[in-house]
Amino acid sequence: MLLISCPWCGPRDETEFVYGEAAVERPADPASTTDAEWTDYLYFRDNPKGEHKELWFHRSGCHRWFVLERNTVTHAIAGAYPPKARPVTEDEA
């Protein structure tokens, strides 16, 4: 049972979360990609044996996605943080 620190909720049991996928950047403009570039994004992965950046979803918690840096051999967790900070708009500021 991994102990995962949600950036919003703190340390929780693995069973509260669902693993999403490797943290891969989606092409900003899919239409302009070649088939090779698009299928690279869609299907091909580094699959490192060691440090891995991945996305988790706090399903039984705050419903937030976050990036987890986890070692795929030892499960040692190096960090957990929001995927991208949403830019604050003027009227919110």
Binding site: M1, Y19, A22, T39, Y43, F44, K49, T72, T74, H75
Partner: protein, 421 residues
């Protein structure tokens, strides 16, 4: 004295206190060069070497194994053999593999204990019944054995099964492949090793490949770097499921694969009471009983990329909870041993056997849950592909190229999520 195994050979050796047996395989020093190298001394790699030598006349070949042969997923699975697939590419490939299984003990002169005790899939909802019957009908159209089992049939075949309508997932019926079953996992590696060795194949254990050498001009492979020195070869087959990404990366090849952990465990041995291999989709797990009497259980992936070969608790608890619901009498048996294998999970859940985009480099990998039963077929197809430098029609569709064209062989329709298959 003949190396052949038989009850008579055993009796003769018994008179000599079993001191006359020879090595099942040699442990030679690696030669500086071979005609072909197979990276990975699991069942798949050893089978590849065996068929290369036996069917394609390549004898100057070596299998390079990082640790001990059969020590990867060959030795960490639930030993199920079946070919009950929906999609043609998979069904035809696995059926070919199953046919090889049926002749394997005699072919290798090594009892791999392939026991066709029947593989059963239970159905728990009308939708599941529809989908499962469809899959088994598809098998029949391809000439693969398949049968329908009513609840009455199930009560007769597996008396320990909970057929109560009050069960959390009541069983409506089941489909079965009578020729499916299980085999002795270690024996498959050892049997192929012994037979390949007899044909001149060098099996080199404790020899980790650390790099793949390529010709600077052509890009073709020319050999490998290992912990036991450099070895030259113009043809290199990779059969290292669980670590395919790492080895392919040595040649600069990226794969549509992630490594995930699959756990299994056994109970203490008791007298036989389970007669077949039962699997269920509603509460994903599979169960059988070994010839030692242990109840063998497996379930879903741990759910995230992992190379740890060490399971965590939640999935095991799920499997135990589901299994005791379906087979209530096992509740009082004891959990005895737990292990985990690192699975190559592809993006569509089907394997990759064929050429890689580097001249002279071939792979068999991406076996997801299905690697053990694929062993003979995988070796047979990879050997063909290496020998002819082109795939056999059985593995033509199971190419890496399909991830460029979008031709997904997706049994579950789960999409490009390795953990979902």
């Amino acid at each position: 004295m003949s190396r052949r195994y038989s009850i008579w050979a055993l009796a003769r050796n018994a008179l000599r206190h079993h001191e006359g047996w020879q090595k099942a395989w040699r442990s030679p020093e690696p030669k500086p060069a071979y005609d072909a190298l197979i990276i990975g001394g699991g069942g798949h790699g050893l089978a590849t070497a065996y068929y290369l030598a036996k069917l394609h006349g390549l004898h100057n070949i070596a299998v390079l194994e990082r640790g001990w042969i059969g020590g990867g997923n060959t030795g960490r699975n639930t030993t199920i053999v079946r070919s009950n697939y929906l999609l043609d590419e998979n069904a035809l490939f696995y059926e070919h593999s199953l046919k090889l299984w049926e002749g394997l003990s005699e072919d290798l002169n090594y009892n791999v204990m392939f026991s066709q005790r029947k593989v059963i899939n239970t159905c728990h909802t009308p939708a599941e019944r529809e989908a499962t019957v469809r899959r088994y009908n598809s098998m029949r159209l391809l000439g693969i054995d398949a049968e329908f089992l009513s609840r009455e049939d199930l009560a007769r075949i597996e008396p320990a099964m909970n057929l109560s309508p009050d069960s959390r997932f009541p069983i409506l019926c089941a489909l079965a492949q009578p020729r499916g079953g299980s085999a002795r996992h270690d024996a498959v590696a050892w049997g192929y090793a012994r037979a390949a060795d007899a044909l001149g194949v060098d099996i080199i254990q404790n020899c980790e490949v650390t790099g793949i050498d390529r010709d600077q001009a052509t890009g073709a492979v020319i050999g490998v770097q290992t912990t036991r020195g450099q070895i030259e070869a113009r043809k290199i087959g990779i059969a290292v499921a669980g670590h395919s990404s790492q080895v392919a990366a040595m040649a600069g090849v990226r794969l549509p694969i992630e490594s995930h952990l699959l756990q299994a465990f056994v109970s203490e041995p008791v007298k036989p009471f389970l007669n077949t291999v039962v699997s269920t989709g509603a509460a994903h797990f599979y169960i059988s009983q070994t010839n030692k009497g242990e109840v063998l259980l497996g379930g879903e992936l741990d759910g995230y990329n992992s190379f740890s070969q060490r399971g965590t608790l939640p999935k095991v608890q799920d499997v135990v909870a589901n299994a005791t619901e379906m087979f209530p009498c096992i509740g009082r048996l004891r959990f005895m041993r737990q292990w985990a294998g690192v699975m190559d999970m592809t993006m569509d859940g089907s394997p990759i056997i064929g050429k890689l985009p580097v001249q002279g480099l071939y792979m068999s990998g991406g076996w997801c849950y299905g690697g053990f039963k694929a062993t003979p077929g995988s070796g047979w197809c990879l050997a063909w592909t290496i020998a002819k430098d082109e795939p056999h029609k059985l593995n033509a569709g199971l190419s890496l190229e399909r991830f460029r064209t979008g031709h997904m062989i997706d049994e579950k329709g789960a999409g490009p999520f390795p953990k979902a298959h």
